[in-house]
Symmetry: D2
Subunit: 386 residues, 4 copies
């Protein structure tokens, strides 16, 4: 079996999810190329050493430049904070490595475009981590639309609702600092919705948006892990420099109307990544908190039994499902990453670009920035203005 | 328009529901016979007088014998406590009146059979108040089964769960006294499930059951209304003489298996009257707390979109719905009684027996008593033993 | 008991709902003033005569001017097409009659303001028919917010989704003609959402919107009833002159962000009138298709049992519920109208303005028109510009 | 870190689930003993060799006797067909190996008792694979009950509904043959419900049951995997010798009533492993198809906001959850096995018996057989009769 040697930068929330994907891949998808977990990289020596041992990496380093140029590495996986994506990606491309980069691709559209250009120039495979595309239920939506079973699309309605910072005393973690995270709910959550909308409905032409930072000052952080964190011992505070919530309206090329909302101030919603699509022949509803399910409605069902069907996307008819458990035995969040890596391995094996790739990262960034400009200038902004 | 003059015995929870049905009928079903609310009867003079005024009855009386023999009455509606059903029904039959009796028909199978015989001998119309049959969603189940769209039936699974007496300090209302109510959860709630099972799946052949009275002594009641009540001022207590919960298993003539459970000790369930039916071609699920909805599954749906559909039974394709509001605009509990009276009026007009009638009351009582005997003798009891 | 003599203009969908409310009121709310159904008015002689008989009105007329000035009428109920509201309301006010007008108050903000001024000048009671406020579950939201149990409000997210015209062959009924209906989904559906948002969260300060007419030409209608209709025999077509869908974003005075969407092109949604509100201490979710239910979340629930509660608003603790059935026995769409009339009768009895009244109609119209202007001028519009 | 060397017998559905648990354990639970995947065993040389490579076992064999006595093996994991459990377990015990055995422990109560006695005599750790106990939501139920937050338990209501053999043409796989599987829906599915009931509510004292085989003859199988299979090329058929559905009623020591139903003939239910528990202070509802959720109701919630809460058991307050992803990011079926192995490793490390162990297997078998006897003798059977 052919192998792909992986070097990874990042070892926290996303680093764990990616590591697990590499670790589990060949057990469930034995027919694909086998990723080999060669080396993991992070800034904190103790942290990365511990992660390497725990996640199963052969080695570790604190020097990403060394990693990006090692001869025995085929693929660089970048999942550290958003502000380091660009420089690592450029170095990896220059070294001829394939690249798998977490979203957002970069802190700005300009940077994203530069990364895409570099990867294209280097002729390497490039992938971006929009993992929600890889839910079997989302794949089913794509299939239904491609086969015309929803007809002409009228509406995309996306909501990504969380509540992890609704408490004003939640500390000022890096995700709330513009210089590191680039953006708040908008770049973190709307980015996923935008990608799903593009994947399923197509490109947007214009947008108008609104955003708000409800809590403008927070305690400096003590410790943090995943999306959890605790305030530090003293009472120092700092300014929140990203948005707590961003909403926008959009028009799609095909004539559909879009509504997008991302917020971290929706108590009760731990991670509601939900969308609905209405077409002339049917509708679908998805909520990642019930990721194994898709609600599907068809206008041509018999008149007395019309209604949204709760489809459990765990049947052999559903993407990826035969690799897992019998119908009705559900999968979880981490599986989307395994499916991502399936796509990445298949793309490398077949010498094609994976989907989604840096072009999708750029196009997502275009919409994000059009919304930002719309908010700043209080007007509709066309995507092609950028 | 032809009219049917109604005399009604009972003026509390069921009296209100029946009164409203007569009152509203001709507004929504103008094509049927028009019931005229001639007289209402109850034991408490002040109570019945007030009810007559509030509900819109032309007159009132405390003497049901006088009511049952009045020349200007065509139909006697009996919805007082269960222990008075029989004598009134017999008198009404003797006087040649049509009879609409609330369930349970009587306190015993023997009494129920006597009532049926009397009504048949008198040649009058007789109806029993199994109102849940008249939910549009339940009608849809019947239609699907009759048209073979669920195939051969394998399972009926019924649960009627309430919580109004789960508090041990809830007082000893008449529904908890065997000499008046005849039975507890079994006669009150399983009776409805049994009727639905018979209506939808067919007759049962044998049963085995279990029952329990969790709280055996309660405060004597002060005041009561509907299913609400308060304890009296003093600390007097009395014994609960009916079952708090009764469960049983059953076999149906057609080979299906049945599971029935009635309890008043299920906190969180105000009135979950729910059933599921599984057949070779599909399944349905119903819960009266969402009475406008039916969950429907078909085995022959396309392989990638199989799932229970949430059908909102408010479309023109659904029984009774065109008399009401546009699709999606729901109806409530009281509408089942209006639909009952539609059936009653149509039966009188067309000189046929309404469905369900006293025969259904008798057959329901047979199952109830077979379960009782099964509990007493700790064995399976065949329905035809009775 | 004191009485209020009612004269009503309109006899179709809303006429039926209002008639039923008057008819049932005193049975369930015997303590309020008793409305007397004196006369009903409509343009079509046969239609109004039939409606009078069916709904239970004492008399009928085709001349609303005569009705509006009759000495024996205390209250004029206006529920005909939107284009006739104004002239009838002005005449009624001039004649010193109380007025109950369906929404939208008028076809324009200017007209709405004129109606309010006339009613105020005449010193009569004026009410507008935003019936969804009168769902017990919506009343519960109001109570939770007033008591501070949701904390500071961050988000209002409203969606009114229907599908009755999603079929391009659905005919060109009056609701699709601007000169009669004034507006499409926006005026019909967003009006309800706006009213709910104002009732629960407060006034909006600025809006930006988007709208679309997906199907621009439709068959001329043959017959229509409620929201159902059939095309005429010939193939004639006419232009749709209202919006099929309108979405907008808004800011509230208190700092909350609003998202509104109204569409008639959402297959599978017969009438999803839904909203969610997020506050610093909790959230609520409501969907009129399950109108008896409210989803409620509190941030201060114990850490291991946090989650949205499905509250069935049929308990004694819930508004209006004690007038109806025992807990768990649900009510339907029509009950919102009965509760509206309770408010109207109580306001007349206590010599105060009912809520919502024409001022609410004007304020709703302000938002509707600000959105229209925003769409036309492709920019944010402040409400106080109007 | 200390290690536990594992030898496993079985390599199909359960073998895959167990392998994955060993493989992933130390990544998510690094503090526990580390299982080392030494050798896997199966009857089919090609199959087991492929499984060894795919799942990550160091070696493979077709001789379980050799495996059970190898010096370098600490733990024998038995998950082949039920008819081989006993002999392997006895050999492993004799060799002083710890044993992890899938349910059912054996084909008969007598065998199960013999296995328990052997394991106890040998002083080894013994565990049985009732994996559903290890869902965080189920752990939460246990916690609520132990802390008295549900009060005195009145009802346990369990349903395990599947539909994988509802099609009469589904072939005669080993799970439908009594000599291999021992039992059908009863031993396969009710076993899980019984274990959950025992874990949560306590021991049962008596039962009465009913069972049925709806389809008595099926095509001989061609190929099978997991719960999927295809018929062979020819038309040969054979008899189904196990139950398609088994239902029973039960009484618990503490006074609660139990209702159990297992069926493979419930179209639309891929794998509904669901139960509800009602107590004097609250209720819970669980459905494994939504395994991350628990519905929880408390009687002492404020009167106006009582309702079942949908708790997403992915918060730090929930068992095992901190090892996984941020709140709202769900886990799946396979995680229950990882949690099982956590318990097994912790028990070995701390020199205590894991829970559940062979005693739980025996007690589950007692109930299963009491039900069987009840069905055969058509009467209530006390557990202590066995």
């Amino acid at each position: 079996m052919k192998q792909v040697n992986v070097g990874m930068v990042g070892y926290k929330f996303m680093g764990k999810a990616h590591s697990h994907a590499y670790r589990d891949l060949s057990m469930f998808f034995p027919q694909t190329l086998k990723p080999v977990m060669k080396a993991i990289c992070g800034r904190d020596r103790a942290g990365v050493e511990k992660a390497a041992a725990q996640f199963g990496w052969e080695s570790w380093t604190t020097d990403w430049r060394e990693l990006a140029t090692r001869d025995d590495i085929d693929l660089i996986d970048i999942n550290g904070p958003s502000d380091v994506h660009k420089q690592i990606a450029l170095a990896a491309a220059q070294a001829g490595k394939h690249i798998f980069c977490e979203k957002p691709l970069a802190l700005s559209l300009e940077d994203a475009r530069e990364m895409l250009a570099a990867a294209e120039a280097a002729g390497v495979k490039h992938m971006i981590g929009f993992n929600y595309r890889f839910s079997p239920a989302v794949r089913l939506v794509r299939k239904l639309i491609e086969e015309g079973r929803l007809g002409k699309i009228y509406h995309f309605r996306g909501q990504y609702l969380q509540d992890w910072i609704a408490d004003p005393e939640f500390p000022l973690v890096w995700r709330l600092q513009k210089e590191i995270a680039g953006s708040g709910a908008h770049g973190d959550l709307n980015a996923h919705l935008i990608d799903l909308a593009r994947y399923l409905v197509g490109e947007m032409t214009e947008v108008v948006g609104m955003s708000e930072t409800f809590v403008r000052e927070r305690p400096l952080p003590g410790s943090a892990a995943g999306l959890s964190a605790k305030g530090g011992a003293d009472s120092a505070r700092g300014p929140v420099t990203v948005d707590d919530a961003t909403l926008f309206l959009a028009r799609f090329e095909g004539g559909a109307l879009g509504s997008f909302e991302a917020t971290r101030f929706a108590p009760g919603h731990r991670s509601t990544n939900a969308f609905e699509i209405n077409g002339s022949r049917g509708s679908v509803k998805f909520d990642f908190e019930r990721m194994n399910e898709l609600q599907v409605y068809f206008t041509d069902d018999a008149a007395d039994v019309q209604g949204f069907r709760r489809v459990l996307a765990t049947d052999p008819a559903h993407a990826y499902s035969e690799a897992w458990w019998p119908p009705g035995h559900t999968i979880g969040y981490e599986h989307t990453f395994i499916h991502e890596v399936v796509e990445l391995m298949e793309a490398i094996e077949n010498d094609r670009q994976p989907v989604p790739n840096f072009m999708d990262g750029v196009k997502c960034q275009e919409v994000l920035e059009a919304v930002d400009r719309s908010i700043e200038e209080r007007r509709w902004v066309r995507i092609d203005e950028l």
